[in-house]
């Protein structure tokens, strides 16, 4: 262990305090949610969340797992969609990002603009829905419907591009002389040194797919293909914002889900994805990227 100098000790102390504090702030609500999910609903409606469960009840989880098949199916769908989607996204976005990072590719800025334009202008939901349902037949292919709309993101491309632009061009040039073509350079040279950014984008993409309920809501009507977040979404939003006309219409909810059920559902949907992060953290080690090239 290297001995720390004085400024480093100060810096580290500050770091532990700041990061620790932020981490606590982030964990605290999570703690409330976990505690709340084990309380009885009546107590929550009456007294709100509490730091220590003043009552203990497994009702929410019992209800949640009363039909475990649904939850298990949803896990399966979410995991498949997340895995396939992330792999496709990584391939498409790194390839695009690499091309855009090549300074000798004359039209790279034009292409950038072509992509960027779509982040600002969109046709809205109706044309997208018509395209997806009537032409791309998303309704008949639920898995594709959940994967395809998310495999490209300009945000991902741009962070990949920025990262790759910093790779010294001497590395590319030296390989080119050896006769390697552009694809080989991308696959053999650039990708390995881009591990931190691959891990980042891979994680973002996985989180994005994991958290997506919108495409599932729009295109999936077969229960078998519901994903986890869709279940969470319907649980949380079953009391829709309504207008005055609707109010008069004598709508009876088949009792809105209880607070505890919402909390338990939140816990269940987070689960496995959190395990992914520590696994990816090995790519966030200083110098790994540059070291790979030199070694």
């Amino acid at each position: 262990m290297v001995k720390l100098s004085r400024d480093e000790r100060i810096f580290h102390t500050l770091g532990y305090i700041f990061v620790g504090f932020m981490a606590l702030i982030c964990v605290f609500p999570m703690y409330l949610i976990i505690v709340g999910s084990f309380m009885s609903n009546e107590v929550i409606v009456k007294y709100g969340f509490s730091l220590w469960p003043s009552s203990f009840s497994l009702d929410a989880y019992k209800l949640l797992f009363s039909n475990p098949k649904h939850i298990l199916d949803a896990y399966k769908v979410t995991i498949i969609v997340t895995a396939c989607g992330t792999l496709l996204l990584l391939f498409l976005c790194t390839m695009t990002g690499y091309v855009l990072s090549r300074k000798d590719y004359k039209y790279r800025n034009k292409f950038s603009f072509y992509f960027f334009f779509t982040t600002i202008f969109g046709g809205g939901l109706v044309p997208f829905y018509i395209l997806a349902v009537n032409y791309l037949k998303f309704k008949e292919h639920p898995l594709i419907a959940m994967i395809a709309p998310g495999i490209f993101g300009y945000f991902y491309v741009i962070i990949i591009r920025t990262y790759m632009s910093k790779i010294p061009s001497s590395i590319v040039e030296s390989v080119k002389i050896d006769g390697a073509n552009d694809f080989v350079i991308y696959a053999r040279i650039i990708m390995p040194i881009s591990k931190p950014i691959l891990a980042t984008v891979g994680l973002f993409s996985a989180l994005g797919y994991w958290n997506d309920w919108f495409n599932c809501m729009l295109f999936v009507s077969n229960k078998q293909y519901y994903n986890l977040q869709y279940y969470l979404y319907t649980t949380l939003n079953s009391v829709a914002p309504m207008n005055a006309v609707m109010a008069n219409a004598n709508i009876s909810y088949t009792s809105p889900p209880t607070h505890t059920f919402k909390l338990a559902m939140t816990i269940v949907t987070i689960g496995p994805i959190l395990l992914l992060y520590p696994f990816l953290q090995k790519y966030f080690i200083k110098g790994i990227a540059v070291g790979a090239v030199k070694g």
């Binding site: 609903n41 009546e42 409606v45 009456k46 034009k110 603009f113 072509y114 334009f117 939901l125 109706v126 044309p127 829905y129 018509i130 395209l131 349902v133 009537n134 032409y135 309704k139 809501m217 729009l218 009507s221 229960k223 979404y233 319907t234 949380l236 939003n237 079953s238 009391v239 829709a240 914002p241 309504m242 207008n243 005055a244 006309v245 609707m246 109010a247 008069n248 219409a249 004598n250 009876s252 909810y253 088949t254 009792s255 809105p256």
Partner: protein, 527 residues
């Protein structure tokens, strides 16, 4: 950034416009094309199988229909739909599946299904799910009386001509209204209170508005942890206030418009109440709301509260639930099952008040404009809506397994209530449960006795000419209404004045004029 690139994008954009144009146009266009030609009666069906519809209808082709329904999927749907379809297959050579749109997704998905011309055959519709709007935009198939008579004989027998008139949009029928009893809440809501608390406070019963206020004062005094009546930002606040104010203008033949009211009892001489008179009445109501809020009848966080009136009552947070009569009974049954010791009871604080029926467009079913199986869809709708055997199966489950039928036609659940039955088909032939509140029948009879159909009820306003103003007024209203109706304004008069001046500046007059013109036309047409 080069101009050329922008040019390219524009060209791309235009080309796609053209391409997409052809596609969607043909897709959504012409519901007429989709309907099959009148059948040539190749193969007359067994008369035994088709007791209802005329027997010259061709049922040789098996069809699978799709229904779009609002609300979450019913718990027992899968089990029951199998049984229903087995019967349907035999009777009409058709089956159907249902796509449920849960409340959270309904607002997004329901209109999309029409906009995209997605395939489905029939669906739920109502005034609050934009029946008029949807009809004008061409989302529904027009139903002719001949077709109804031919393919929906049971419906034809049950729905009165008045009701058919009521659902007309631009003179055309697009909806099959439901025929069950439905009243408008508004000034005529009932309350569910807790008998155990009444006993504790030494009160015998609640018969008048004053009794109810006494009950609430007692709650405040003896049970400070409890809220007399729970309200949140949805709509309950206004209902509570309305319940304490007798119907002033929205009496017989009165209708509420945009910041005014109409008396259309004499179509040639329509009276309009607006301006100062109308706002003065509102101000009174808001002052009452302020008074209630100050007394603490509802909690200080009502404006942000997620839990609604019912949830708070069920969980013992509040002492009163408010809703219209049939929903009151639903609440009673639920609470009585979970907490019989609370001794819930339904009370009516204005038994003499006139009880307006709910508009006929309040709940119903419609055919999708692009359905390819118009006849079969109508026949299926007819049989599941009015054939007692089908209806019982759909609404109460399997006889002697889910429920038992009593001699008087009522039903009793055997173990637990079965969660089936669709919205929009609560029809005359519905049965009554034996777990209803003891005074439910009596209250309902009283309600029917006082019941009337306001002439204005079936008016459907088309805001096409003043959309921008309507939107602007909506945004202003959403800003002030919740605060004033729930009594959170410190300066009630000032804020009401502010609200008035803002909507007037946004073009209220033009909006009212447009509305009035349509009211006059409506009144003349249906006199």
């Amino acid at each position: 950034m080069s101009k050329k690139l922008i040019l390219v994008l524009v060209v791309v954009f235009l080309t796609t416009s053209l391409l997409m144009g052809c596609g969607t146009g043909s897709n959504v266009n012409g519901p007429g094309n989709a309907t099959p030609t009148p059948q040539a009666t190749e193969k007359p069906t067994d008369p035994e199988e088709t007791e209802g519809p005329q027997s010259d209808i061709d049922l040789s082709e098996y069809v699978e229909l799709k229904m779009v329904m609002v609300g979450p999927e019913l718990d027992d749907y899968e089990r029951i739909i199998k049984l229903v379809n087995d019967k349907l297959k035999e009777d009409l050579n058709a089956t159907f599946t249902v796509e449920f749109l849960d409340w959270g997704e309904f607002a997004t998905k329901y209109p999309l299904k029409f906009a995209s011309g997605e395939e489905f055959d029939f669906c739920y519709t109502s005034n609050w799910s934009f029946y008029g709007d949807q009809a004008v935009k061409g989302g529904f198939l027009e139903l002719t009386m001949e077709d109804i008579q031919k393919y929906m004989p049971r419906t034809y027998a049950n729905v009165t001509p008045d009701m058919w008139d009521g659902v007309k949009v631009d003179g055309k029928i697009y909806m099959i209204p439901q025929t069950g009893l439905q009243f408008t809440g508004d000034h005529n809501n009932k309350f569910v209170v807790r008998g155990d608390l009444l006993e504790k406070y030494g009160m015998s019963e609640i018969k008048t508005a004053d009794d109810l206020l006494e009950y609430w004062d007692n709650v405040l005094e003896h049970d400070p942890d409890m809220i007399p009546i729970g309200i949140n930002q949805s709509w309950w606040g206004w209902w509570v206030i309305a319940s304490f104010r007798p119907i002033k203008w929205v009496g017989e033949n009165w209708g509420a418009g945009p910041y005014n009211a109409y008396d259309i009892s004499d179509p040639d001489n329509i009276k309009i109440i607006d301006g100062d008179e109308w706002w003065a009445d509102r101000l009174d109501a808001f002052k009452l709301a302020r008074e209630f809020q100050q007394k603490g009848y509802w909690s200080k966080d009502a404006l942000t509260l997620q839990d609604d009136n019912g949830v708070m009552f069920e969980n013992g947070v509040s002492a009163t639930a408010i809703r219209q009569i049939t929903m009151c009974n639903e609440m009673y049954e639920k609470v009585n099952a979970a907490h019989p010791e609370w001794k819930p009871m339904i009370v009516d604080i204005h038994p003499e008040a006139p009880a307006p029926y709910y508009p006929v467009t309040g709940d119903g079913m419609a055919l999708h404009a692009t359905t390819k199986h118009k006849e079969r869809a109508m026949m299926v709708l007819d049989i599941i809506s009015y054939d007692q055997e089908y209806y019982d199966l759909i609404y109460y489950g399997v006889k002697d397994q889910d429920y038992t039928l009593n001699a008087d036609g009522s039903y009793t659940w055997i173990s637990k209530p079965v969660n089936v039955g669709f919205r929009g088909m609560n029809n005359k032939i519905a049965r009554m449960s034996t777990t209803v509140a003891p005074n439910y029948k009596e209250l309902l009879d009283n309600q029917v006795k006082n019941g009337f159909h306001p002439k204005f009820n079936n008016f459907i306003y088309n805001n096409k000419n003043v959309e921008a103003i309507a939107a602007a007024i909506s945004s202003i209203e959403e800003k002030y209404a919740p605060i004033l109706q729930m009594g959170f304004a410190e300066d009630v008069e000032g804020m009401t004045q502010q609200w008035r001046s803002e909507v007037e500046a946004a073009g209220l007059k033009e909006y009212q004029d447009d509305f009035t013109a349509q009211v006059i036309e409506f009144a003349k047409r249906y006199k």
